[in-house]
């Protein structure tokens, strides 16, 4: 146990060490850029510096986590619990994978601009502030740091009109959503006189949520709904993913979405747990709409990138289902499912990035035809990704869905569980054709990669992700147990009934 006094500057510095080190890394990359910003080699160097600067951050995180850091007295501004540490770990993994996949991508697309990597690190620090926030203002500002950086990254391919359009759409929708979120924060503060999440929770404990708090919570859910692309606030996602550089689209689908959900769990579980009867119907409605619309529209997509975008909307629905119960199991399911989803999506976007011929906007089912003959390992990796997204037994994705189901069933909401299972079955209708095209269709003499080569960093990233997906899919016991333990640091009361999880 390592008590840290968050009221003192040195205590806050210790607690925020991972975030601070990531920011320092971003600034270091900027310094490198000042001297070297002309050639592809300079760009690679910036990427390597960025990657290396994640190591001290990860070490600081491991030190805090292993030392069992906890707040001395009241939590203040930043959380210090297992849930935050797990959130930070997830975000660091997504960031590292995005950097590794970007090396090859930037080279193939001829983008030379090392600022890319410093913006990635700034975005990562914003996500970390947001996911670990104990205060609504820290949460809001972290979200803004993340959003501002990702707006720019979406438009990073300056020669492409599609990239510029994606940036504009993402920016306008994102700023609109931020305004809603901010109004929600203002009213929640007005209703309780507190901006600290646990302070709000204490104020509202046991009592009825006042009118101003209800309005605030509603506006806040609208804002977060936009950020995580839940139906009906999803219309921007396919266009933005479509136009953005592929590693950035992957970063949006993994990092941004993970940070959004982790922050949402923290708000709902720490600040307004006693108002569950108020937010649960809203969350359930958003979840059902996202699962149904996301999966049905994905069926009709030709472009694989747009298909993955709609699939990520469907996954937002699954994650909303996961956090619905408001119990320890719910928080655990969110952690597990996010881990599975982040790993799988990173690998899927990595493969997508290498399949593109002159702009990956045109990657369709035809582009993967015959992949198994020329590149059997790539076809295998693609298959594992699709099966994991589908939730096929033996993959990590299945473990995630199972955790969600036990949480929802444990909270006695059978209808939500049934809808989740049915929509997952529908999703086979667009995941399986990809596998069939890779294995059964013949592309003739043409090479699906068109002579492009998957660079070593990309291969390693995808290979590691696929291995983890398979290993944890077969041996889920330890990860399920630790997820429940992590969730226990956030939700101390209730949820002792571990319905079959991890046994």
């Amino acid at each position: 146990m390592m008590p840290i006094d968050l009221q003192t500057p040195s205590g806050v510095t210790l607690a925020l060490l991972p975030e601070i080190l990531v920011c320092a890394g971003a600034m270091l990359v900027l310094m490198v850029n000042a001297w070297k910003h002309h050639t592809g080699a300079d760009s690679r160097l910036a990427g390597k510096v960025a990657l290396a600067s994640l190591i001290p951050a990860a070490a600081a995180l491991a030190w805090l986590w292993a030392g069992g850091a906890e707040p001395e007295g009241r939590p203040f501004m930043v959380a210090l619990d297992g849930f935050r540490f797990a959130s930070l770990a997830l975000i660091l993994i997504a960031t590292a994978a995005t950097i590794l996949l970007s090396f090859g991508y930037l080279e193939r697309e001829g983008l030379i601009a090392p600022e890319y990597y410093s913006l990635l690190l700034f975005a990562a620090s914003g996500m970390m502030f947001m996911a670990g926030a104990e205060d609504l203002m820290v949460l809001f500002l972290g979200l803004e740091v993340m959003s501002v950086s990702v707006y720019v990254l979406a438009g990073f391919n300056r020669g492409s009109i599609f990239s510029a359009e994606a940036a504009l759409k993402y920016f306008l929708v994102g700023a609109f959503a931020s305004a809603f979120l901010l109004y929600g924060i203002a009213l929640l503060w007005g209703a309780t006189g507190q901006t600290g999440l646990s302070g709000i929770g204490e104020r509202l404990a046991g009592g009825e949520l006042p009118l101003m708090g209800k309005l605030g919570l509603g506006l806040l859910l609208i804002g977060m709904g936009f950020k995580v692309a839940a139906v009906p606030f999803h219309m921007w996602a396919p266009d933005v993913y479509d136009g953005s550089p592929t590693p950035i689209a992957g970063f949006m689908a993994t990092g941004v979405k993970a940070a959004g959900f982790l922050a949402l769990v923290r708000i709902l579980y720490v600040a307004v747990p006693d108002a569950a009867s108020t937010w649960q119907p809203v969350v359930a409605a958003l979840a059902v709409a996202s699962m149904v619309v996301g999966n049905l529209v994905a069926l009709s997509q030709r472009s694989l990138k747009r298909m993955l975008a709609y699939s990520s909307i469907a996954h937002a629905g699954y994650l909303l289902t996961a956090l619905w119960p408001g119990t320890r199991l719910g928080a655990g399911a969110v952690v597990i499912y996010l881990a599975a989803y982040v790993l799988t999506t990173v690998a899927a976007f990595g493969i997508l990035g290498v399949l593109g011929k002159g702009g990956e906007r045109d990657v369709t089912l035809d582009s993967v035809a015959g992949l198994s003959k020329r590149h059997p390992w790539l076809a295998f990796a693609l298959t594992v990704c699709m099966l994991s997204l589908l939730g096929f037994p033996g993959t990590f994705g299945f473990v995630g869905k199972w955790a969600i189901l036990s949480g929802v069933v444990g909270a006695r909401h059978i209808l939500l569980a049934v809808i989740l299972v049915v929509t997952s079955l529908i999703s086979a209708g667009y995941y399986l054709p990809v596998i069939m095209a890779a294995y059964m269709r013949d592309a003739g003499a043409e090479d699906p990669l068109g002579g492009r080569r998957f660079d070593r960093a990309g291969v390693v990233t995808v290979a590691v992700a696929i291995t983890v997906i398979l290993v944890l899919g077969v041996l889920p016991g330890s990860v399920l147990n630790s997820a429940i333990e992590i969730a226990g640091t956030l939700v101390r009361t209730g949820g002792s009934s571990l319905v079959g999880i991890g046994r």
Binding site: Q7, V12, H37, L141, G193, G199
Partner: protein, 186 residues
Amino acid sequence: MSGQTVFYILAGAAILSALLCIIQKNPIASVLWLISTMFALAGIYVLLQAQFIAAIQVLVYAGAIMVLFLFVIMLLNLGRDTGDLRGMPVRLAAVLVAGGLLGELVLLARVTPGSMALLRGTAVGAGTPMASFPAGQAGAAAPGAQGVVGAIAEPLFRTYLVPFEITSILLLAAVVGAVVLAKRKL
């Protein structure tokens, strides 16, 4: 003229300017009406005893941010009537959304200081003075001893130190981003 009368005049001016801002065909006229809204809001802030916020509202918002808008509009030579209102279906949808939203938010008009009385005076938790700062004193009481700016600096650099530091990262990221996108040749 009582403060109440001034408030309603300023509120009317703010709402009218905001309406004109969203229906003007010429973007420059829109900017100017938005600036007018911001000046009216600055007046309201003075009435609500937030003199410092009123000053930076004029300096930063109306003075800097809106001038940046004006500058970009003139740089891109967009100062013509564009007539960019969307068609009828969207207008109807907008009216519906606005009706729904306002129908809920109007309930806020019923909030009185009395109805929030249970928040006032009850300092939360056993934390240090820093943690339980906001609930205690009402806005007007504090400035006397330290002056208006000092009274805001206190919570800004104590309670809200962490968010304050995050804003510095936000501004740095925004500067880098703006340069990356807007510079002709990197």
